[in-house]
Amino acid sequence: MALLLVGAGSSRADEAFVTNQAEDDLSVLDLDSGKAVATIPIGGKPAGVAVSADGARVYVTSPDGRALSIIDAPARKLLHRIPLEGGPLGVAVHPSGSPIYVADWYASRILVVDPEKREVTGSIEVGKSPSGLAVTPDGKLLLSADRESHQVSIIDTAGQKVLGTVPVGQHPFGVTIDAKGERAYTANVTSNDVSVIDIAARKVVGAVKVGERPYVVALANGRAFVTDQYAGQVSVFDTTSLQSLGVVAVGEYPEGAQASADGRRVYIVNWASNAVTVIDSETLKVTGEMTTGDGPRAFGLFIRPTGAGPPAP
């Protein structure tokens, strides 16, 4: 890297760290060029992913291999592999960089992992089959989509205690918190809808019908983008009016979804077609496609900020 920082940008574009479950590795995609710049072997059928807020670390779960892998993101290097019990799937990083929260798909608990000590330091009892996890921007609350209990658990991160639960639609999988930490959105796999949660009030304030088998919600530009797996599309709705803005055809079996830091683009990871579809969040047009490894899931926050783009609005 010969170039130093120039103006507002750095020499690296933002990157996507995509878990290729069928291929047992992680693709690193440069989001400007659309090219894979590295492949990192992981093993154990990697599925969940979480990038630290500072972009230094990437955490990957392997539910089959029962492990949490810690990756040095700029070096594209696997640093450690922490063995975990159960079926580690959903993963989230506290905004401060520690701890790491890992949902146990086969049980009713979230493991708390210290990435420095590389050990489990706590366990939080939640509903059945916790799936997606998300932490509020202030770091105070952790939300867990408890898939088989049809609810979201709201957890106090300091005390590692469940403050309350919110009943949502059937089989919530992904949970996404907005930039202000006010609302959360769950994609409900079997009721084909999204529940909108007022986090402070701990109640559902809206439900939006989407396509068949929704998995994850991404937020950008005042809009929610929902991956409808069986429909091969993304359902879009306005987060204020909760009115549908239509659908965008993407690849086959879209799963992971996340917006760029500036909110202009949304990246959709397509499990069956081994590709990432890029959607313009304003025009709702597909503007590009990138190739991944086999069976990409990228379940979690998979985009690594490098400071190249403008800050989120």
């Binding site: 599925a47 089959d64 086969y106 088989e148 089989h171 069986y230 429909a231 499990w271 069956a272 069976g295």
Partner: protein, 175 residues
Amino acid sequence: MKIQLLAAAAVLLGLASAVQAHGPTRQKTQQEVEINAPADKVWKAIGNFQDASWIPVVEKTEGQGGNEKGATRKLTLKGGGTVEEVLDTYDEGKTFHYRISNVDVKVLPVTNYSSKVTVTPDGDKTKVVWWGAFYRGYPNNDPPADLNDEAAVKAVNGLYRTTLDALKEKLEKGS
């Protein structure tokens, strides 16, 4: 053709309570065949969702809704067992996409199965691709050998291969 029949172990393990739960790694597989017959003839043989007789193991198809999205069918298999399915997309002459809404893992060792059949003309010939996505039959950790990821893929591949080979034989003989 016989869909893999599984031991009573599956029942003893209490799988009935876990209809929606599934393993951690979804599998995908596909099989294809090239048939020496025009695409419209091939489509005629396989494109009616309410008639699954092109799948040799199927004895009877009963259903509702024709070829419309949301149509259902119940397949009764030779030698017993049923499979209930729902049509998700249908593009006349080209492809249809459906999923299993109810099947016992003793009949087919999978859960959350969905599938797509695609017919593509290739000159005078036709290519048929049968693609499936599914989880293994056992939804929890440490699956028994007959309900693990490999068993699921093997069973689906066996179904696809046998069916596509039989389709080719039937249509080429009749042309």
